[in-house]
């Protein structure tokens, strides 16, 4: 029998550990990655001519980042690694890829989707102005280019990344004006039992908040964002908000880093026709999988934050676990004991992730409260009022139907940054639970590709 063909999509923590497990089993996997280098977003590498040490780039996670990069480097001649390669569709048993110049269709025996995450965004009036960035984007600017997104930066949203990136900015010498967390402080106390599942990460989080306060950064909880102030030509100039039911406050700034934790990139799982289920804790639709990462489709496996947001440590464990499951399904010998132990690790991280969802809840009510003039879809400038008008005129209450009439979710980002908030707005307006609004279907190509590129056979 010919060697089975295993395709791994993504070269972050999950993809790297999956590739390592394949190589150890004597298989040469194909690793397709959109990035220029391995590492994914969390352990993104800086350009070769940059000199900052691991400790400066990755803080407490430096040893993990270094170990992951070294593992990937060691796999170099034992995998078929395709960087700067977009997987834009999965259809008829083939993975469709595109580089800048070439399109290919690759058959597979096992497909491991380690697609990672992007920021989860709650729109705020004025977020279209130049100088508004996603939290993850603000981190990429610093980590991979050694720049701050502005001269005076406000961090607004919620989640562990809010505090992490703000403190990385402070340490790097950026002017951080404020950290505005929409979550009430009491939510963290409620989340403690789950957060204690991984005490070291919990402690890292506490230390970050203390360091920010020591550095004199204004940190506020229970924030209600009202507006990012700015103008069309020059971009962001400030931010308006309340703390709880307190008086309106204004802070001057020229950049806002915003986000509410992360959302998985599930479009490829969708195109592979995996079944999805609504997760009431995160209020997101997630691809279904068994404890080892098998999706509802034979031969398609899901690992890391691309399946569910459980963090980078969990992604390393689930990447390896899922690869072992795939190898076992292909008839190769695998260590059942190791799989059980990895399952236990993922379970621990899942408990911690549930704690994070409690401590830093997604402020669903903000979507329903968006003023009519606030832009909901950044790509095409569609406002909250436009979507509400479409609902009134057409009766649309389902995500894809509302998208067809309003174009919310149809722009260049394909709903990545507006889709979850749009669903909450529809639910609030229609007075129905958000799961009844459904989810935006993944569409090929999952990102824009050139129509002029050539074909090649696998």
């Amino acid at each position: 029998m010919a060697e089975p063909r295993i395709i791994i999509v993504g070269a972050g923590p999950a993809g790297t550990r999956a590739a390592e497990a394949c190589v150890q089993a004597g298989i040469r996997p194909i690793v397709l990655d959109e990035g220029r280098r391995d590492g994914g977003q969390i352990y993104r590498r800086q350009p070769d001519n940059f000199t900052r040490p691991y400790t400066k780039l990755y803080g407490t996670e430096a040893p993990r980042a270094q170990a992951l990069h070294e593992t990937f480097d060691g796999l170099n001649d034992r995998i078929d690694y395709c960087p700067e390669t977009l997987v834009w569709n999965i259809a008829d048993g083939h993975v469709r890829t595109a580089t800048r110049t070439m399109e290919s269709a690759l058959p597979f025996d096992a497909l491991l989707l380690c697609t990672g995450a992007t920021d989860r965004l709650m729109p705020v009036k004025g977020w279209q102005f130049a100088g508004s960035y996603s939290l993850g984007g603000a981190q990429v600017a610093l980590k991979s280019q050694a720049v701050s997104i502005g001269h005076k930066v406000v961090f607004m949203g919620s989640g562990p990344l809010l505090y992490l990136v703000a403190s990385q900015y402070v340490q790097a010498g950026a002017d951080v004006v404020a950290v505005l967390d929409t979550a009430p402080y009491s939510a963290r106390i409620k989340a403690l039992p789950d957060l204690l599942a991984v005490p070291s990460v919990l402690w890292n989080g506490v230390a970050l908040t203390l360091a920010l306060k020591r550095a004199g950064v204004m940190v506020r909880n229970s924030v209600k964002p009202l507006e990012i102030l700015g103008d069309a030509a020059d971009g962001v100039s400030g931010i308006r908000f309340r703390v709880g039911d307190g008086a309106e406050q204004m802070i001057a700034c020229d950049a806002v880093a915003m986000g509410h934790h992360l959302r998985p990139e599930t479009q490829l799982a969708d195109l592979a026709r995996c079944k999805f289920a609504f997760d009431p804790v995160t209020r997101q639709w997630l691809p279904e999988r068994d404890g080892d990462g098998r999706s509802s489709i034979a031969g398609v496996y899901l690992a890391g934050d691309g399946a569910k947001i459980l963090g980078a440590r969990s992604a390393e464990a689930s990447g390896r676990l899922t690869a072992l499951a795939a190898l076992g399904d292909l008839g190769l010998p695998v260590d059942k004991g190791e799989m059980a132990s990895l399952r236990g690790d993922v379970g621990t991280y899942a408990k911690f992730a549930r704690g994070l969802a409690t401590a830093f809840p997604w402020p669903a009510e903000q979507a329903g409260a968006l003023p009519d003039e606030a832009i909901l879809c950044r790509c095409e400038g569609v406002t909250a009022g436009d979507l509400r008008a479409v609902m009134r005129e057409t009766g649309a209450k389902e995500a894809n139907r509302a998208k067809a009439f309003s174009r919310v979710g149809m722009g260049r980002c394909q709903g990545r940054y507006c889709g979850l908030a749009a669903a909450e707005l529809i639910a609030a307006q229609a007075g129905i639970p958000v799961e009844r609004v459904g989810r935006l279907r993944g569409q090929a190509p999952v990102k824009p590709i050139n129509i002029s590129i050539g074909d090649t056979d696998a």
């Binding site: 100088g131 971009g235 980002c413």
Partner: protein, 101 residues
């Protein structure tokens, strides 16, 4: 006024590219986005509103940082490295999009 602020790694060789015909000084290893926003406040004009844009996600997901080569190739400024002699346009050559603002 620049939008981005360099916080380190400035001891790199310089390079010059051209943006809308004007020379822009950058450093080897800069993305186009960093090269452009270290000198100016914005990258491009929104096709759907009155405002200028300066990118958003920096990881190739939002498509808010599109710029073009003179031959019409579309580039994501966040994930394309600046190179000496590059000639970049901040609006699409030989195509016009109606501005619905």
């Amino acid at each position: 006024m620049s939008r981005f602020v360099r916080l380190g790694e400035t001891d790199r060789p310089g390079l010059t590219l051209h943006v809308d015909g004007a020379p822009v000084a950058a450093l080897e290893g800069d993305t186009l986005m960093v090269a452009l926003l270290s000198q100016g406040a914005t990258l491009r004009q929104s096709e759907f509103g009155p405002e200028k844009r300066a990118g958003f996600c920096l990881m190739g997901a939002c498509q808010d940082c599109w710029v073009w080569t003179e031959s019409g190739d579309r580039l994501r400024a966040c994930s394309t490295l600046a190179a000496p002699g590059q000639r970049i346009l901040t609006s699409q050559p030989e195509a016009t999009w109606p501005n619905h603002a």
